[in-house]
């Protein structure tokens, strides 16, 4: 079995984004998805700080401090892009206009609860940004994360032990081992990396998984 690296994970997620989708990419790992959007599809990226139609990062020397993404990195605007203020930007989010939000996570529960903003540590300074708005507002919330912690524990859990970002909000989980749908009756494995048998994925995950029903 070979785990996907971060770039391979980004490419795997990008493959599932359809033509015409409006998508918000979270800070960190999800931001990499922008580099792998399939050619020939028009996919519109939204940024919390008031941008629709984010383009690739600018050439060196062409950065503009007034044009940044939610991670505060310099970006460009695609032809047809638009600027708007924060209340409009979050109105789009909460108003269920975004097709997909792709977010990082510390943990996801079998019920689709998401924990990604605070470790709960006493000395830890919490920061939430737009994560709670995206979790409740996007039509689809996809999580992108490593399957296991550095200690080898599953990040897919029965109940989140970290503080929640949103309850029952995650629809799909992309990890370095598998793609898993979160449904009312449990977790359905969509696919897994080559050489990883279902039973082994089940053992590593530590929560009940279902093999995906074969489509007729």
């Amino acid at each position: 079995m070979k785990k996907l690296d971060r770039r391979e994970m980004a490419a795997r997620v990008a493959k599932d984004i359809l033509d015409g989708a409006y998508v918000n990419l979270g800070i960190g790992l999800p931001t990499l998805v922008a580099d792998y959007l399939p050619k020939g599809r028009e996919i519109i990226l939204h940024s919390e700080n008031g941008i629709l139609g984010l383009g690739p990062k600018p050439a060196e020397g062409a950065e503009d401090e007034d044009l940044i993404n939610a991670g505060k990195q310099p970006v460009t605007l695609l032809t047809g892009g638009a600027y708007f203020h924060h209340a409009d930007s979050f109105g789009m989010i909460r108003g269920r206009h975004l097709d997909i939000a792709i977010l990082g996570a510390f943990q996801v529960s079998v019920a689709g609860d998401l924990a990604n903003w605070h470790t709960g540590g006493a000395d830890d300074i919490p920061a939430v940004g737009g994560a709670m708005d995206l979790a409740v507002g996007a039509k689809n919330v996809w999580v992108m994360m490593e399957h296991l912690t550095k200690q080898g524990e599953s990040k897919i859990v029965q109940r989140c032990t970290y503080p929640l970002t949103g309850a029952r909000c995650v629809n799909r989980i992309y990890t370095d081992l598998a793609v898993i749908d979160v449904k009312a009756d449990g977790l359905h494995v969509v696919d897994a990396v080559e050489g990883l048998p279902f039973e082994e994925l089940q053992r590593l995950s530590g929560v009940p998984l279902k093999k995906r029903a074969i489509a007729a």
């Binding site: 203020h85 989010i93 737009g130 708005d133 929640l164």
Partner: protein
């Protein structure tokens, strides 16, 4: 005749009082009114309550206000950053109080203040720590949290162009919270790149109409 143009940033902030609530525009450094912040530091007001998305980056703008120990309380969505050392230090020393607000709720609370809304229900943060102790309500099949407006004494914002009536346009993502802040404060002070003659701004593209603006400073 209406003329909101003020000669200097210092003159624009001369009446700032200790304990004021001040909305400060900008998302990271985009739209940060650094000239006004420098003037606020020089003016000397203390015990301020600040509202911004972040809690300052490196040594710039808002971070320098925290460094100068002028801030008692801050409302923001994302204080923790790799370069937020002045906030981190003050927070850990117990010198500064933090109210963490989800970013969309922060924006909407200011919009509500400017639009005369008494409170609003938002689905954001329901079932999380940030909704603890707050009134909730189920409407249809969605759970909501009751949130109140953020009113302020001042808004310090940055815009691109202004005229003497205070009509404003912005540049790219530097717009961010500024139009909301302009509406939510009793006294909105704007730092602009360029002042133009009345009539030069296309009425179709004015983002913040002058009714929300009190003072304009060219930097």
């Amino acid at each position: 005749m209406i003329n909101k143009i003020v000669a200097s940033p210092e003159a624009a902030l001369a009446d700032m009082k200790d304990g004021a609530t001040v909305l400060i525009g900008g998302f990271g450094n985009a739209g940060m009114p650094t000239v006004l912040i420098d003037a606020l530091i020089a003016q000397g007001a203390r015990n301020l309550t600040l509202v911004n998305n972040n809690a300052g980056n490196a040594e710039n703008g808002l971070a320098s206000l925290i460094k100068a120990k002028r801030v008692r309380r801050i409302l923001c969505s994302f204080p923790r950053q790799t370069d937020s050392w002045h906030f981190d230090k003050a927070f850990r020393a117990g010198e500064i109080e933090l109210e963490l607000v989800p970013q969309g709720t922060l924006a909407e609370r200011m919009r509500a203040a400017g639009a005369g809304i008494g409170a609003f229900y938002t689905p954001t943060a329901f079932g999380t720590r940030l909704a603890e102790g707050k009134e909730t309500r189920r409407i249809g099949d969605i759970d909501y949290v009751l949130e109140y407006p953020i009113h302020a004494d001042y808004a310090l914002i940055k815009a691109d162009r202004a005229d003497r009536w205070g009509n404003l346009t912005y540049r790219m993502s530097a717009r961010n919270f500024a139009p909301l802040m302009a509406s939510a404060a009793k006294c909105t002070v704007v730092q602009v790149r360029e002042i133009v003659e009345l009539g030069e701004l296309d009425p179709e593209v004015i983002v913040t109409p002058g009714i929300y603006v009190k003072r304009v400073v060219k930097h």
